[in-house]
Amino acid sequence: MTATLHTTASPAAPPDGPQSRRLGRRGRRGRRTHGALAGWLYATPTTLFVLLLFVLPLVLVLQMSGSDWPLLSGNQGVNFPENYSDAISNRFFMDSVVFTLKYTVLTTIILLALSLGLALIVQESSRWKGLLRTSFLIPSALGLASASLLFYVIYSPIAGPFADLMTSWGFTFLGTPDGALWSTIFLIVWRYAGFYMLLMLVGLQGIPEDVYEAARIDGASRWQTFRDVTLPLLKPTLALTTVLCVTGSLLAFEQFYILTKGGPDNSTITVVQLIYSVAFQGPNDLGVAGALSVIVLLALVVINIAQIRAFGRKVED
């Protein structure tokens, strides 16, 4: 998820620290020839993992997306454009794309605004603020599946803490499409707010104290300081958190698989859920699932590049 950011930054990092430059020329050359072989040796496990479990599956999914490939009988020959047209004409394709985008926009806005607010609240260090930080962070230790199961019970009209309230007011959390969407967003905000708060805190700590001091001397109000000092200086952090949050939300699966199972009335099917059900529930068609996966991968790359461009331009202004 963060790779998009790293790729722009990491090649610039010098492979050698400044200390190595102080070494004599002879020493350095001896080291390099000696180092190349040993370096490869130490990097071999990483290379094996990357090649066998990452590059090879990527190649295979490309081949699958162009082949007739039922789950049980394996590769049945080329089926190139058909898989992609089948994928797009799947009766849930457009609905799932629209729903996933809607969910992503809502989640990203709410989650980032809230986590920035939380970070501002707990920024100063004191015993009380420390306790608050820990309370906000504890849900982040849970797995997404555990958190979804937890809220499955809490939202239940039979066993949940709001069961009586739901009967007397006549509503259910997961009964309507809108209810299911907002209930899931609440679960995600609960689970991830502390995580994003921590990223925001790291960003806030990077803002030097004297900038605030200058704003105070100039007589800026709290709101002015926040708008004209904090927000612009927090832009790299905001870019990172937006990319992370958008990527995570576009690939949402567990929360909907466990909480709503795509219902009610197939209103909460995300793109990844569609891939899963095409591959393993019903059609068992790995070819079409592969085509969908490739489409999602390309969309994700395009969306992330667009986001980084957008943030990059704003920083220059």
Partner: protein
């Protein structure tokens, strides 16, 4: 941000009551003096408001823990308080010990593999020059860019071919691969923050590159290793998607999968009590580990591993 400055600033982010003075003091002082009566009166609404927020975050966890032992019709704990729901959980299909064992096995194997691969890989990236180094590093980071589902479907086919279908080892290998971007990056910057003089001195004393790593550098990168191990454990213990796709055999399911399946007992009736018990068993190790190693968890963020 380099790692040697991290512990210091980490401490001010982590709850560390004893530490509350020092670094944070100037920021507090900027506002108002905390001791005056007016100050306390002014800040009471703040305490109520922020305390309420904390309650919202903690309430679902506390409620689940309490109601997992509370009586409810339709569960195994109808009258009075007790551990009936945990007994349902214990006797579910193959028994909870099998699923717990599976989860522990996958988590530990993932942690060990992640530590080994990222330790050697981080050493290679930080200390050696070799052809293809930058390409390999970028390829490792690129794992983050690719959706989970896009990789899991071909991995399902590939693991079948090599005889690792339905295998917990297969799941651990896949989970290790998904951990590599973070752990390799983390170990690389951990090694880079150590002065080169340290391993050069060891080599002058006759150590091989491996001897320098084993005797001198491992103790120095221990904090990085703890952070990597903690993240790998939390990810592996909680992972749902990889075992969902790669495991079909009910006896090989991991705990999250088992608890999700146990929800729906016979005739589609949901056993909420057993689900609550399952969530408690799933969440408790993570929360305890998190509270004990909170400082190392925060270091993962401070290190810049999440930054560009």
């Amino acid at each position: 941000m380099s790692i040697d400055t991290a512990p210091d600033s980490t401490r001010s982010i982590v709850t560390d009551a004893a530490n509350s003075g020092q670094r944070g003091a100037h920021r507090v002082a900027r506002k108002h003096s905390p001791t005056s009566f007016a100050g306390i009166a002014l800040r009471t609404p703040g305490w109520v408001l922020t305390g309420g927020l904390a309650v919202i975050f903690l309430y679902p966890l506390i409620w689940t823990a309490i109601s997992s032992v509370a009586p409810r019709a339709g569960t195994n704990q109808v009258d009075g308080w007790g551990i009936g729901n945990y007994l349902t959980l214990a006797n579910y299909q193959a028994g909870i010990w099998v699923y717990l064992g599976n989860s522990v096995f996958v988590s530990l194997l993932t942690v060990v593999l992640t530590l080994a691969v990222s330790l050697l890989g981080g050493y290679a990236f930080a200390r050696f020059r070799f052809p293809g180094k930058d390409v390999l590093f970028l390829a490792t980071l690129a794992i983050l860019m690719v959706p989970y589902a896009t990789l899991l479907i071909p991995l399902y086919v590939l693991l079948n071919i090599v005889g690792l279908s339905n295998s917990l080892v297969g799941v651990a290998l896949v989970l290790t691969m998904f951990q590599l971007p973070f752990s390799t990056f983390m170990m690389r910057i951990s090694f880079e923050s150590i002065p080169r003089e340290l391993d050069e001195a060891a080599m002058v004393d006759g150590c091989s590159t491996f001897g320098a790593l084993w005797r001198v550098l491992i103790p120095a990168v221990k904090p990085g290793l703890i952070t990597v191990g903690l993240f790998a454990f939390l990810a592996a213990w909680n992972d749902f998607f990889a075992p969902l796709i790669l495991i079909n055999d009910t006896n090989r399911m991991t705990l999250p999968l088992a608890v999700a399946n146990l929800r729906v007992q016979v005739q589609g009736v949901v056993d909420y009590g057993a689900t609550e018990a399952g969530v408690v068993v799933l969440a408790l190790p993570c929360i305890l580990l998190f509270l004990i190693l909170q400082r190392h968890y925060v270091r993962g963020f401070m290190s810049g591993a999440f930054k560009g």
